[in-house]
């Protein structure tokens, strides 16, 4: 959930690590740095976990993708078969389009609503702290619990949403929030906005508050209008934050699983199956680990490419 951050930092951070190893040893001061063995002891647990539970599985994943591997049987290498037949899995192919549509809508809607909430949260008025906390709280509830809650709330007869709409006199008949593909997608996006927007708001707020006040004061002295201050100070200063949030929203949405698995279960009629849901079905409903691994490798490559592009852009800006 909250591990997003270091993404954009990672390259810069690697550089720092490199520099410090290149600059060493600084003779008299770094007495500790001179004992490489001690250093290794401190990072040994990290090394074991990273090698055993991250690098090794990556290798296994690639191997799996070149085999016919039934969930309860033993693997038989089958070359590129799994990759050749990627297009034959209709559920997977359909899921790609759906996931892209979902990602695009979610990213735009999240930003639009986040701007409204940030405007409120950034106000100096009384009571703003309460509003800020209210908008953020759903973020700490788990996706599975939140999705289960929304599934209940979306029910026709007993659910909260229909009850509220009826109470306000807006509807006579229950809406059927999960009945059609369109309504199901709408409901999931509403859930995602409710659940995740707090993160976006906090990150934007911290970004806003880190812009030096002097900029605005200087602009005021120069007679800049509110609009000009927004256009020439706020937006450019927030660019890295906006870029980071865009990438996080895109990568997060491309990997959506819990909310669909619980709220719509891919329905009605497989209209809301995401890529990860299709992959999960391939592995654990159809028991084809090899095919699922090939799908996973494709997904992995796409996301690594997105992340690398993002890092490139960031680096160019910095240099």
């Amino acid at each position: 959930m909250a591990a997003p951050q270091a993404l954009k930092d990672s390259l810069g951070a690697v550089d720092v690590a490199r520099e410090s190893s290149a600059a060493s040893p600084r003779p008299s001061r770094d007495s500790a740095a001179r004992r490489p063995l001690t250093g290794w002891l401190f990072v040994a647990p990290t090394g074991i976990v990273v090698a055993g539970l991250f690098l090794a599985p990556l290798v296994i994943l690639v191997y799996m993708s070149f085999t016919d591997w039934p969930l309860l049987g033993s693997p038989v290498p089958n070359g590129l078969d799994n990759y050749r037949s990627l297009g034959d899995d209709d559920l997977f192919v359909g899921a790609i389009t759906f996931t892209l549509v979902y990602t695009a809508i979610t990213t735009v809607v999240l930003f639009l609503i986040a701007f409204v909430l940030v405007a409120i949260s950034n106000s100096a008025r009384r009571g703003v702290r309460f509003y800020r906390t209210a908008y953020f709280l759903p973020y700490v509830v788990g996706v599975a619990a939140a999705s289960t809650m929304w599934w209940l709330d979306a029910q026709d007869q007993i659910g909260l949403f229909n009850q509220v709409l009826k109470g306000l006199g807006l509807i006579d008949q229950p809406v059927g929030f999960l009945e059609t593909p369109g309504k199901a997608l709408f409901t999931v996006i509403a859930l995602v906005v409710w659940k995740f927007i707090g993160f976006q708001v906090i990150v934007l707020l911290v970004g806003l508050q880190s812009i030096p006040h002097e900029y605005y004061e200087a602009a005021k002295v120069d007679g800049a209008s509110t609009w000009q201050r927004l256009r020439y100070i706020t937006v450019p200063s927030l660019k890295p934050t906006l870029a980071l949030l865009t990438v996080l929203s895109i990568t997060g949405s491309l990997l959506a699983f819990d909310q669909f698995y619980v709220l719509t279960h891919g329905g009605p009629d497989n209209s809301t199956v995401t890529v990860v849901l299709a992959l999960y079905n391939r592995a654990f409903q159809s028991f084809q680990l090899g095919d699922a691994a090939a799908q996973a490798v494709v997904l992995l490559v796409v996301l690594v490419v997105i992340n690398v592009i993002q890092l490139r852009l960031l680096r160019n800006r910095e240099s």
């Binding site: 770094d30 999960y280 996973a296």
Partner: protein, 278 residues
């Protein structure tokens, strides 16, 4: 517009939004406190006519009983939190203070965990865990959750240690402390806030994680709370007990809300440290 009018509009609008965000949480709590009959009544009542813990009691007889799932969730979270803090504090110190062969490679590999979509790596992990005897175990699940915490945790702890002046530690070394002694007595105290942040994030992630336990655990007595919740939703489609489900949701979310409200400042500082540098 006059000032008071503008202020009133601001608060009206902001408060309406706040209610929209909070009401589903409150609604789950209210419903969980109704009697079983009232909680399953159509259309629903707005407020409980009488308060009752029936729904929570009903959960004790669902499958293995709520107690089993609660204990499983607590175990997984405890192992994940302790594991993440220990590995990240030690590793962060190692990366911040020492020079050794393969340092950049290991640091880069750790951060690369963020680049790889975690859903894709659960598949080989499922195979790997079962081959090394950790398949279908809470320990195996927790170790994987520790791995997912590393990029954030190592990065945060390394930065925390780097912010401490070396002179402070060197003074301790001169005074006859061992390198581990200097680490323990001097640096560790100063980076405590960072460690709390790592613990907080590990707790929230492990408590809420759904896909990993769904894949790794195939024995009902090992399930964690989120898996149980979704099972209630699917298990008996037609005779679903809405009150019990609401109670389950409350049990799953209250620890997160409480922990967050208590440790809010560490949470935000973690976001700032991680998300907004560079």
């Amino acid at each position: 517009m006059t000032r008071p009018l503008r202020t009133a509009l601001f608060h009206g609008w902001s408060a309406a939004l706040a209610i929209a965000f909070l009401f589903p949480l409150l609604w789950a709590l209210l419903n969980s406190l109704k009697t079983t009959d009232e909680a399953n009544q159509q259309p629903p009542t707005w407020f409980p006519h009488s308060l009752s813990l029936d729904n929570y009691r009903n959960l004790t007889t669902f499958d293995q009983g709520i107690g089993t799932y609660l204990v499983n969730s607590i175990l997984v979270s405890a192992i994940t939190v302790i594991g993440s803090v220990v590995v990240c504090v030690l590793g962060g110190y190692g990366f911040a203070r020492f020079t050794f062969r393969g340092k950049s490679l290991l640091f880069g590999s750790t951060l690369a965990i963020l680049m790889v979509p975690y859903a894709t790596i659960l598949l080989p992990l499922y195979i790997l865990l079962s081959r090394i005897g950790l398949g279908n175990t809470l320990l195996g699940l927790a170790l994987v959750l520790v791995m997912f915490q590393l990029p954030f945790g190592i990065f945060l702890m390394r930065n925390s240690f780097e912010a401490i002046p070396r002179e402070l530690e060197e003074a301790a070394l001169v005074d006859g402390c061992s390198s581990f002694g200097a680490f323990r007595h001097v640096s560790l105290r100063i980076v405590l806030p960072g460690a709390v942040t790592v613990a907080l994030f590990s707790f929230l992630t492990s408590w809420n994680e759904y896909l990993a336990p769904l894949i790794f655990l195939n024995d009902g007595s090992k399930y964690t709370l989120p898996v149980m919740l979704v099972n209630i939703r699917y298990a008996s489609y037609n005779i679903i007990d809405f009150g019990a489900l609401q109670a389950g949701i409350v049990i799953a979310m209250v620890p997160c809300l409480v922990v967050y409200l208590l440790l809010q400042r560490f949470y935000v500082s973690g976001l700032v440290a991680g998300a907004l540098r560079g």
